[in-house]
């Protein structure tokens, strides 16, 4: 499937490299599809939990990649959407609204609304300003969550009942939940693949390449970027709803600004502006984190320098390395 989807991405290398990248992508998707089978056979419930988390954060990374990789908008507040989506589910559950048909649309709508406000304010600026403003607004949401004493304040809130869908899907079944996340992720990637090749997507990528020129040829770039920002926020809000259901728990910590940093790391690690890069980045980052914390008591002592080295040397992330493409 990736043959037609990735035709436009920048930095493609030779055919052999491209084949390697496609093969890795197919292998990763196939392995992810088989994870529940393996964990059922071996009874390794922990692994299923870990990979469910990978899928959910990959959805967040896919949405971030839409604005950051394709749109050139380095948003450092993306964890706020995870939080807003999660709190929508948690607050509604606590107030007695357990239906996912209500919870999830509210999660998506609230995230989209927040994105609209933050985007309208921050997209008037660029560069470092944009990074710091998205960061600051996300921090505001973080403090708001801490101030919500009724919903656990600093300590967070346990969700006793996962979202219900009138018997259509049972989220309490871990395998079902896993495949639901998997389906949402693949749908999200497909959505992005359609968007980036559409008229809208070309405008967004054009604005990243040369915004001044795009205005000169007649595009009001601000509103296109704003709509893109809102789409990404809405998708990440859905990931937040999934995350709350996954952990049965919400807390301000899920939107601390360093979580936004994690999402950025995943996108860059996987390869900016590539369709499956965010998935690969999320997978590698979370497995690396998990593996390092088993090997050593001080995992970040190694993870930190790895990120520094990636920033200095590995332009284009893992996809870039596979393709041999370099980009600035």
């Amino acid at each position: 499937m990736s043959a037609s989807l990735e035709q436009d991405t920048i930095g493609a290398g030779s055919d052999a490299r491209w084949m390697a990248s496609a093969l890795v992508t197919i292998a990763v998707v196939a392995v992810l599809g088989l994870v529940p089978l393996y964990t059922t056979l071996t009874g390794n419930a922990f692994l299923l939990t870990l990979f469910t988390r990978v899928l959910i954060l990959a959805i967040g990374a896919v949405s971030l990649n839409l604005i950051m990789g394709y749109g050139g908008m380095v948003s450092f507040g993306h964890a706020a959407y995870l939080g807003i989506g999660g709190y929508a589910v948690g607050i509604l559950a606590k107030e007695g609204v357990g239906s996912g048909y209500i919870q999830w649309p509210v999660a998506v709508a609230a995230s989209a609304l927040y994105a609209l406000v933050v985007g309208a304010l921050s997209l008037r600026t660029r560069g470092v300003y944009f990074i710091m403003i998205t960061l600051a607004f996300a921090q505001m949401i973080y403090y708001v969550a801490i101030g919500l004493d009724r919903y656990g304040g600093d300590d967070g809130l346990t969700i006793y009942q996962r979202s219900t869908f009138g018997g259509v899907v049972d989220l309490n079944n871990k395998t079902v939940f896993y495949y639901l996340c998997f389906a949402v992720l693949l749908a999200g990637i497909y959505l992005v693949s359609r968007i980036v090749n559409s008229r809208f997507g070309l405008v967004i990528q054009g604005a990243r390449a040369n915004e001044r020129r795009m205005r000169a040829i007649g595009f009001p770039t601000f509103r296109y970027k704003l709509v893109c920002f809102v789409i990404a926020g809405a998708l990440c809000g859905l990931a937040g709803a999934l995350l709350a259901n996954h952990t049965n728990f919400i807390s301000p910590a899920m939107m601390h600004w360093t979580r936004s940093g994690d999402l950025i790391v995943m996108v860059v690690l996987g390869g900016l502006g590539t369709l499956f890069g965010p998935l690969i980045g999320a997978l590698v980052f979370l497995l690396l984190e998990e593996g390092l914390s088993r090997l050593t008591e001080y995992p970040d002592l190694f993870l930190g320098p790895i990120l520094l080295l990636v920033a200095i040397y590995a332009h284009g992330g893992i996809e870039g390395l596979l393709r041999g493409g370099r980009r600035g």
């Binding site: 304040g153 993870l303 990120l307 520094l308 920033a311 200095i312």
Partner: protein, 305 residues
């Protein structure tokens, strides 16, 4: 009213702290065009150094001095080893790299000092409170913080505006090639500037150490407030950073102290209890949003630096 004065002074004190942090950030950004997420780590290290040297030397003053030197050295070494490789990179790469440094420093501190926090005891002379106006007592140490930060601000202003180093800093900010062409060692200049920024952050940490618990991650949330200061003040402007820092300090402190009460008068008790803390923590970001609507480049854009 007396409570209001006390809270305002606390606001000024927070503002001074934010100025020390924001000045270093904005200097490094304005001159090297670098976003440094690890700036909060230098603040944390300053606090740890001070607490450690206080134990080792038994002297508060010696601890402060050694911690400052320590921060300066860490900053300069950091610049040579890692930071200078990020200048020519995109802001995204800088974000990623310095985020990695932040993770590294948090973990390194845990390895060296352990997961439990530390405290720094003040000398007895600073433990008292003075009566600043009739009826208002204010801790001596907090006044010392305000005065020390004001002194640093004045010194910084003097260095940037009146010295050869400052002239180079200002020239470097506006024209990298020109400074290079004049034969000035720009690498050394950048190392010094980054070290200076680190020392300022470290100094903020040192000053704050006796008031807070010295702990891992203590620089993370205050870093974002320093960003808010820079957004409001205008990137690259020391003067903007100073004005905005005091302003942010006041709004943050006074807002948190008085907004819940004011809400109680407007809303029902129940609603106020739920929303009060949440809304009061939003106040400073609302101010920031308002500034962005009317002055997207901040109150003091760098051109008027």
């Amino acid at each position: 009213m007396l409570y209001f004065i006390e809270q305002s002074l606390n606001g000024v004190q927070l503002g001074m702290l934010l100025f020390l942090l924001a000045a270093g950030l904005t200097l490094v950004f304005g001159i090297m065009d670098l976003v440094n997420l690890a700036h909060g780590s230098l603040y944390m290290l300053g606090a740890y150094f001070a607490a450690t040297f206080a134990v080792l030397t038994g002297s508060f003053v010696a601890a402060v001095a050694l911690a400052l030197i320590g921060s300066l050295i860490v900053g300069m070494v950091l610049e040579v080893v890692a930071i200078r490789r990020l200048y020519e990179r995109s802001h995204l790469d800088q974000v990623l790299g310095t985020f990695g440094l932040l993770l590294f420093f948090n973990e390194a501190v845990r390895l060296i000092w352990g997961p439990a926090g530390m405290t720094l005891a003040l000398p007895a002379a600073m433990l008292t409170a003075v009566q600043i106006i009739p009826g208002v007592f204010y801790p001596v140490y907090r006044l010392v913080i305000i005065l020390a930060a004001l002194a640093v601000a004045a010194l910084l202003y003097f260095v940037v505006m009146r010295t050869r180093l400052g002239m180079l800093i200002r020239a470097g900010a506006s024209n990298r090639e020109m400074v290079g062409a004049l034969g000035i060692n720009i690498k050394l200049l950048y190392t010094l500037v980054f070290g200076l920024g680190a020392a300022l952050a470290g100094f903020a940490g040192v000053m704050q150490a006796p008031i807070l618990t010295v702990q891992i991650g203590m620089g993370e949330n205050i870093l974002i407030l320093a960003f808010v200061v820079i957004i409001i003040g205008g990137i690259g402007s020391i003067r903007g950073a100073f004005v905005a820092a005091v302003f942010v300090g006041l709004v943050e402190t006074v807002g948190r102290a008085f907004l819940p009460d004011m809400l109680h008068r407007i809303l029902s008790t129940n609603a106020a209890a739920t929303l009060g803390p949440a809304l009061s923590s939003m106040s400073i970001y609302m101010v920031m949003a308002a500034v962005l609507v009317f002055r997207p480049e901040g109150l003091f854009p760098a051109a008027s630096r």
